[in-house]
Symmetry: C2
Subunit: 309 residues, 2 copies
């Protein structure tokens, strides 16, 4: 799956992934009204507003980006109707030729991990029938429980040509509280996790020398990103933290290799709520949120070009 | 919320939590047939089979146990219809007077954690309306991303009288791969996590001297459990790993305090699929799965009594 992702990035000449993490404050008023009119100010109305918002954004930028990353929490909060919209968003994005990275960050014992994996990237069995459910291309997972909590996903990655991004060094302010602890062997915890991810991914290396088992490495810690790039030459990075979380293009330079490959960079709010930013507010009305998102993607693409060469 | 849990345990004289982690192999044929007849061998049919299974089990043992722990993965795998059954299972269990521990193991950056927390233990806002969605009493969470990924849950625990169990030392075979790494300060990672959980829970200590912010501590590592009990006198333990995962009552002794308090012990398969075990197969048919579950609960209660005094 990593080969397809890298091909899409080359094709679009853009390692930007649009994070579909809507919240109701980001959704323009006219879209919310349309959804509430149909379903009321209910869980279904809120979920439907997300679907309308997502599909218009996807239509507006699908030609510019290789992938989208829906954050399942934003849908899960509305209950079953939210999960339905999560599934429909994935389907819609794939129909538009985009790769879908499901940001689910699951992590559990093997029998439970198998249920998550079957549902999200594999197939569930209902008696003699095999059924696909979520169908993300990649999902994110949490490594805290160790190898046996990861193995079921690896099996499905092999069988269904899927990929993972395992949390290594996350973008949030307190990520260092555990991830940066010093181990007796002189390394940091996240470096140990990085090594494990690299090992787990050895049998998944594709034609660009990157593995379908990748790592989440936050843009907000540029030195660690650069060091991890050297430590893990075959591990592709999913990089959150650009834009709203504070990282700039310069901070990302170290996450790319000499060919300008090796990372895909997420921006959520910075794209999907671009119309609310002062710099775009002058050019675009709320109803032109898609055009604002397009402009933000083009700007991000340009900024990343500057650090990938 | 921890006070209510402890009260229920005292009332039932039983620190057993029934893990509602069904899989289709555990569900008796007559229940599956009923569900398939209504909905076909579909995602909805599978999900509905779980609901019928869960509600009959809850009816059968609600007088004996303080709490149930549905594992969300088992429902999430069926997509939206599965989540609907997860929500309905929680509702049903609460109506029967049981405390519900949602085993969701989420962990994400603050803005995302807030969405999970609002949905699961708080309230979501749809414009001026506040809506409750999942309504677990406790949820499990993953600490790998640090304090800011936990804080939104703490706020909701305070506001809505809820509780957490944070993964500290899990029950699975590879839990030590990261959790047992040696830190330069001489401690293990899980001990550090344990200290953090204790600190996060300081303001949530109730009348029994335990905090609503608890820890997941696997029964399969009895020595660590015993040491953690001493290290964390105010941290209540949710203990998985009993029965099917290999731990016995003796392994649990160290998780309880001198009053026989301090832990609630989960058994999933061992109860809900008791009818499939050789020792119960002779006494109960498949249709008598509830009676077998009841017997398994009573046996577990007795075994735990032996190590709590």
């Amino acid at each position: 799956m990593i080969d397809q992702l890298i091909q899409k990035i080359e094709e679009k000449q853009n390692p930007t992934v649009m994070g579909l993490d809507p919240n109701l404050n980001f959704v323009p008023r006219h879209i919310k009204e349309e959804a509430y009119e149909r379903y009321g100010k209910t869980l279904q109305g809120a979920a439907e507003a997300f679907y309308l918002f997502n599909t218009q954004l996807i239509d507006g930028v699908a030609d510019l980006i290789p992938a989208v990353k829906p954050q399942v929490a934003m849908y899960e909060q509305w209950g079953a109707v939210g999960i339905d919209v999560y599934v429909r968003t994935i389907k819609y994005a794939k129909e538009k030729g985009l790769i879908v990275i499901g940001d689910i960050k699951r992590g559990d014992i093997a029998s439970t991990a198998k249920a998550y994996s079957d549902g999200h990237i594999g197939q569930v069995a209902i008696e003699e029938k095999q059924v696909t459910v979520y169908q993300e291309d990649f999902i994110t997972i949490n490594p805290y429980m160790g190898f046996d909590s990861v193995e079921p996903y690896l099996e499905d990655c092999r069988e269904y040509n899927k990929g993972l991004f395992v949390l290594v060094k996350t973008s949030n302010p307190y990520s260092g509280q555990l991830q940066d602890v010093d181990l007796v062997d002189g390394s940091k915890l996240y470096e140990k996790v990085g090594s494990l991810v690299s090992k787990w991914g050895e049998k998944f290396i594709g034609k660009y020398d990157y593995s379908s088992i990748g790592a989440v490495v936050g843009a907000t810690y540029p030195e660690q990103g650069q060091a991890l790039r050297k430590q893990l030459p075959h591990t592709f990075f999913l990089v959150p933290g650009y834009g709203a979380q504070g990282a700039t293009a310069k901070d990302l330079a170290g996450c790319f290799d000499k060919e300008g490959r090796g990372a895909i960079v997420n921006s959520s709010r910075g794209i999907i709520a671009a119309y609310r930013q002062p710099k775009y507010k002058e050019q675009f009305t709320e109803k032109e949120f898609v055009q604002a998102a397009r402009m933000a993607v083009l700007e991000m693409k340009k900024n990343l070009e500057g650090v990938r060469s």
